[in-house]
């Protein structure tokens, strides 16, 4: 099912950025459920560095839209305690790269309290965090770290590639009784200063709807090769697929949408159809999403016409200079080249 398939007929289209779709989801759920609150750095008067809490302070006030000190260990820990006593906190870790200062609250408490308590202490919190580079912010503000979070059990991990999914995943995340890590890519937020991938802006219904976790989307159907992406790399894959048409190649693009749970079935079904697999990930290559997807397809016994390939960030800290960073990032050109090689059957 494509994202747009569920949008109602007879309605004016309403194109939103991911940032606006996130803010709308938060507002709708805060109106519906008084136990929801949002906290983090610069999320109130500023409306979030990435725009995803704009307008909320005016409607809900500072008790439910809480600016925090620059103190992630304390306020993400506080979210765990709030969730333990019946609140549904949404907390922002401004850049995922900052997880090092507060990881205990995330992976030792939020992720493990349900298990360690035998299901007595659920932690219904959402951790929103920005990911991604490509704008010269260097290695402490540009990582994706999808694999890091998806690797640790007890947290759900979602990564929207467009505004429709962002709203539906956010509503689902707040209502989920588990900690959900909501990873949004800066290049898709619709913030002018970060550049904006136009494909991330799409029609978002005003309705209350949930995009279920663990259901990958076929962002584009094709028969010759499966390109698996998430977040920003979905758009690179779509651009590449468009270019490949000229060479007579029809690429199918799979948008994972959530890493935990992971929809291996949709990926395997697509690869069964096309016989070829390319995974495109902006996170580090080794021990990450790309390896997991390839392993899943191979373990399922999927018959491949040529060895699977992957494009990911090389195992280096993300450099500052554009001439160092940009060539290291995944790109449509790299995808076109990899697909072309795949169809030739070589490496």
């Amino acid at each position: 099912m494509t994202a747009t398939a569920t949008i109602r007929e007879n309605r004016a289209k309403r194109n939103l950025t991911i940032a606006k779709a996130m803010a709308e989801a938060l507002a709708q759920e805060m109106r519906r459920d008084p136990s929801v609150l949002v906290m983090g750095e610069d999320i109130a008067a500023l409306g979030g560095v990435f725009g995803n809490t704009r307008g909320l302070l005016e409607e809900f006030g500072p008790a439910r839209i809480r600016d925090t000190p620059i103190s992630e260990t304390a306020f993400i820990g506080a979210a765990v305690g709030m969730a333990a006593v019946g609140m549904r906190p949404v907390v922002e870790l401004m850049f995922v790269d900052f997880f090092g200062v507060c990881m205990d609250a995330i992976y030792n408490m939020a992720a493990k309290n349900c298990y360690f308590s035998g299901g007595q202490a659920n932690v219904p919190m959402v951790l929103m965090t920005s990911v991604g580079g490509g704008y010269g912010d260097a290695g402490q503000h540009s990582q994706c770290l999808y694999g890091t979070f998806a690797h640790l059990p007890g947290m759900k991990v979602v990564v929207p590639s467009n505004a429709y999914d962002a709203k539906g995943l956010m509503l689902g995340a707040i209502r989920d009784n588990n900690p959900v890590i909501f990873m949004f890519h800066k290049a898709l937020q619709g913030m002018g200063w970060l550049g904006t991938v136009q494909g991330s802006i799409n029609d978002v219904p005003e309705d209350d709807y949930v995009v279920p976790f663990g259901q990958a989307a076929i962002a584009r159907a094709g028969k010759d090769v499966t390109i698996v992406g998430l977040g920003a790399t979905v758009h690179l894959a779509l651009d590449a697929a468009q270019e490949l048409i000229a060479a007579g190649i029809e690429a199918e693009v799979v948008d994972l949408r959530s890493l935990v749970p992971l929809d291996r079935a949709t990926v395997c079904a697509s690869v069964t159809k096309t016989g070829r697999l390319l995974v495109v990930d902006e996170d580090y290559m080794s021990y990450g999403v790309s390896g997991e997807i390839i392993a899943s397809v191979v373990e399922a016994g999927t018959v491949l016409k040529s060895p699977p390939r992957r494009i990911a960030f090389p195992d280096i800290p993300i450099p500052f200079s554009p001439t160092l960073e940009r060539p290291a990032l995944p790109s449509a050109e790299k995808i076109v080249a990899a697909v072309t090689a795949l169809l030739r059957g070589g490496r």
Partner: protein
């Protein structure tokens, strides 16, 4: 309070005995009915009872890796707690957490094996109570070593900024594993650090339950009345090593003897008898009652079935 202290001590003594089963002649942590590390809290009972006497089940407590005395004082189910420590299916969490990760949602009790990290959740729970206009409070217990963690300073600041109804209780036993407080902490008394965050700080000396009860009562009443957070450092004593099996070579000669001479349980017994608040006969009844509850909990834990291997896959998610 005295009876709870006696029960806690009896519990720890039985746990220590069971812990050593199967672990000799060669000590192997994985052997015996209780695997893993075991951190006993004997000597620190006054901190738990003096504070928790002011709390009810609705109040939220986070404890440390040394949690038994606090759990017992907070009213955690003794049978389920013992069973958890033995890794049994009938334990608080069916054997998934063990001794450092005891949770009892019925009485709002949680703990973590990571130093100082229970403080943030206590601030959060307290903030939720304030937001919802409930007269509940949160208490975070930590050791004195935790006062050098980032979470300590961040949580004090956040609690003060938000005027959360939370009390931070430092059990100062003088030792962070094997490192003395003087070698690890730049100030003699961590309650002084409260001033840095604009909150009242209080120090209780003598490991005296009555003094702890008084100080905690003031702090908890202030929090409940909307007066914001407080920090209390309690001078206490760790009668055991950091964990069972710790040879304690780092302790100065004679320190342990001095600590045992000031054991808070005989001290309180003497005081209660001396002040005629309890007779020898009362004491006997009370001790028997506490010991029998413990014996029963341990016996039930031993008799309980182990979880099946497949149960390891339950409760990863809600």
């Amino acid at each position: 309070m005295y009876e709870t202290m006696v029960k806690s001590r009896a519990f720890e003594e039985r746990i220590a005995t069971a812990y050593f089963e199967g672990k000799s002649p060669v000590f192997n942590m994985a052997n015996g009915p209780i695997p893993g590390e075991m951190h006993l809290s004997n000597g620190q009972e006054p901190c738990a009872v003096g504070v928790c006497a002011h709390l009810d089940a609705a109040d939220f407590v986070t404890a440390t890796h040394r949690p038994h005395h606090i759990a017992i004082a907070k009213g955690v189910d003794l049978d389920a707690m013992a069973a958890e420590i033995f890794g049994k299916k009938t334990g608080l969490s069916g054997g998934r957490g063990g001794h450092m990760h005891l949770f009892d949602a019925r009485v709002n009790f949680a703990c973590s094996g990571i130093i100082a990290q229970g403080m943030g959740p206590a601030v959060g729970a307290a903030t939720a109570f304030k937001l919802r206009d409930e007269k509940r409070v949160a208490v975070a217990f930590i050791g004195e070593g935790a006062a050098n963690q980032g979470a300590f300073h961040e949580s004090l600041n956040l609690a003060a900024v938000w005027q959360a109804p939370v009390v931070f209780v430092i059990e100062d036993n003088g030792w962070g594993i094997s490192v003395a407080k003087a070698q690890s902490t730049a100030v003699a008394h961590n309650d002084n650090r409260a001033a840095s965050y604009g909150m009242p700080g209080h120090r209780v000396t003598g490991n005296d339950p009555a003094a702890i009860f008084a100080a905690a009562g003031e702090a908890i009443a202030r929090a409940r009345a909307g007066g914001g957070p407080s920090l209390i450092e309690i001078e206490t004593s760790r009668l055991a090593g950091h964990f069972i099996g710790d040879a304690e070579g780092y302790r100065p000669a004679g320190e342990k003897d001095a600590l045992f001479a000031r054991d808070p349980i005989p001290a309180l017994r003497g005081k209660l008898l001396g002040e005629k608040m309890m007779s020898e006969a009362d004491d006997l009844v009370l001790v028997k009652r506490a010991e029998s509850a413990v014996e029963q909990a341990i016996a039930r834990a031993r008799a309980a079935p182990f979880p099946a291997a497949a149960e390891a896959f339950d409760h990863v998610f809600a």
